[in-house]
Amino acid sequence: MSKVGEKTTAIPAPKIVPGGGFDPDLVKQNFPILRQSINGHPLIYLDNAATTQKPVAVIKRLQAYYESDNANVHRGLHTLAERATDAFENTRDKIRTFINAGKRKEIIYTRGATEAINLVAYTYGRQNVGPGDRIVITRMEHHANLIPWLELARQNGAELVYIPINSEGYLDLSEIDTIINDRTKIVALTHMSNVLGTINEVEEIVALAHKKRAVCLIDGAQAVPHMPVDVQSLGADFYVFSAHKMLGPTGLGVLYGREELLQAMPPFNFGGEMISEVRFDKVTWNVLPWKFEAGTPAIAEAVAFAPALDYLENLGMENIRRHEIELTAYALSRLSELKHLTIYGPLNPEHRGGAIAFSDDKIHPHDMATFLDTQGIAVRAGHHCAQPLTRLLGVNSTTRASFYIYNNTNDIDTLHEALLAARRYFGHG
């Protein structure tokens, strides 16, 4: 296996301080992009639910891979091919450990969480969902975990039923026993909402789904980066997430699936890599996980995802979760001082992640985002790829600030001041 990438040492990731926790200011030093000014102000990056920034270790590994190890995987018999394959497969092992999957063959590389969900909808879904069957999702899903099911239901004559949410931003489970009924084949829900921040009690939903012999897919795109996740203890049948939301490169995602389900599913894409033997009239599929990995995968991205996972493990997912609970608690308290703001989602930081959507009663979110950008603050404004949910909240769009390991309370104070400055600028001060 290549040692080249590992030799290119970056600033070491900050060590955990006794008693747990880490210093976000030290973390920040590992992220070159954060050392810049935007419009004359130090950059404050609060759009982490969209994508996170990358530490030096990840950037260096990408470069080292292309400088020293680049080759196609699983095919060549030369040294570079062996190095590339080893590094590529090594990340799969790290991912398995990271989410505590039972077997490495249960970890499928995809282009992202979106493709992972589509993979399940197109294969398991088409095979198992028929006319009159039911697919259950929730009203807080990202479009990625909504549209594939809407399409599957439409194409296969199934019905799509939504678990509602209550005014506090939690799932309303009062009717859950009738929603997940005997005809239900798939239950798909987000682990953590990208708009409300709500962390759903997925174990409970998984158990209810299993009682009706339905499978349960969890969209973990917002959860895996921010808290410890153990797919086996959750009981998830499928679990998906994206590398780029957890310090890794773009273009890479993960589908975890229970082996027996993956074995029974037909392939998603057809081509090279996913076959075992090809004759002119007959093909046998490759074994797991490669059955689902047709074509040349995102090799460099997978290789460079390993240092991202190392970085997070070094900080400790429990510590990251604690850091974000503290930041979220602080942000909720500072933002609720501003009476002209409406804050969406649960107010208890223990029940939510650090993605906070809000709206100003006078300033449109797009004006707000433009104003904040001129102060060096990057936030997201819009419907956050969850249009039905945004409408349900009674607005067309919201502004969202979302935190990660390099954010601190000063960032939130700066945001607070800028939100007040925006009121003055737009004549509502």
């Binding site: 419009n39 102000h41 979110p365 797009h366 819009g382 067309n396 737009f426």
Partner: protein, 154 residues
């Protein structure tokens, strides 16, 4: 920062945003059209009363950001008393200006020049375009003897 920001939110524009000109309900109108910007959720509803071949009065009901509200207000300000052809010509010139294209010299855009700063903010251009696209669709449909479909800018 303020310089860049003021380029977008010019004084004239901010005045239109705070006091939108076409913000009323027109009871008697001859044509109407709705515009929608799915990416932002901006929503505009135009009602137009004609007098002969000219626009007698207009109401602009816009729910959106400062740019889309101000742009709709400036539209309301400029179209009264003008013929359909003239308004279409001006609206197309404003669209060209917003997209950074060349505007023919025989059109005097006057205060509408204040919208020019928006072209420096690529993601905000569609906000300013909405009202102009909506009125072009309304008037061209009228000229063709049809009713306009809901307009969209993305």
């Amino acid at each position: 920062m303020d310089e860049k920001l003021n380029d977008l939110y010019r004084d004239i524009l901010m005045d239109h945003y705070k006091y939108p000109r076409g913000n009323k309900n027109l009871d008697n109108f001859d044509l109407e059209n709705e515009g929608y910007n799915p990416a932002c959720g901006d929503d505009i509803h135009l009602k137009i009363r004609l007098d002969g071949g000219k626009i007698d009065d207009i109401s602009v009901d816009c729910i959106g950001c400062a740019i889309s509200v101000a742009s709709g207000s400036m539209l309301a300000d400029i179209v009264r008393g003008k013929s359909l052809e003239e308004v279409i010509r001006i609206a197309k010139a404003v669209k060209a200006m917003l997209k950074g294209e060349k505007v023919s010299e025989d059109i005097n855009l006057g205060d509408l020049e204040a919208l020019k700063g928006v072209s420096k903010f690529p993601v905000r251009i569609k906000c300013a375009l909405l009202s102009w696209t909506t009125i072009i669709d309304a008037l061209e449909a009228r000229q063709a003897g049809q009713k306009a479909e809901i307009s969209r800018t993305e």
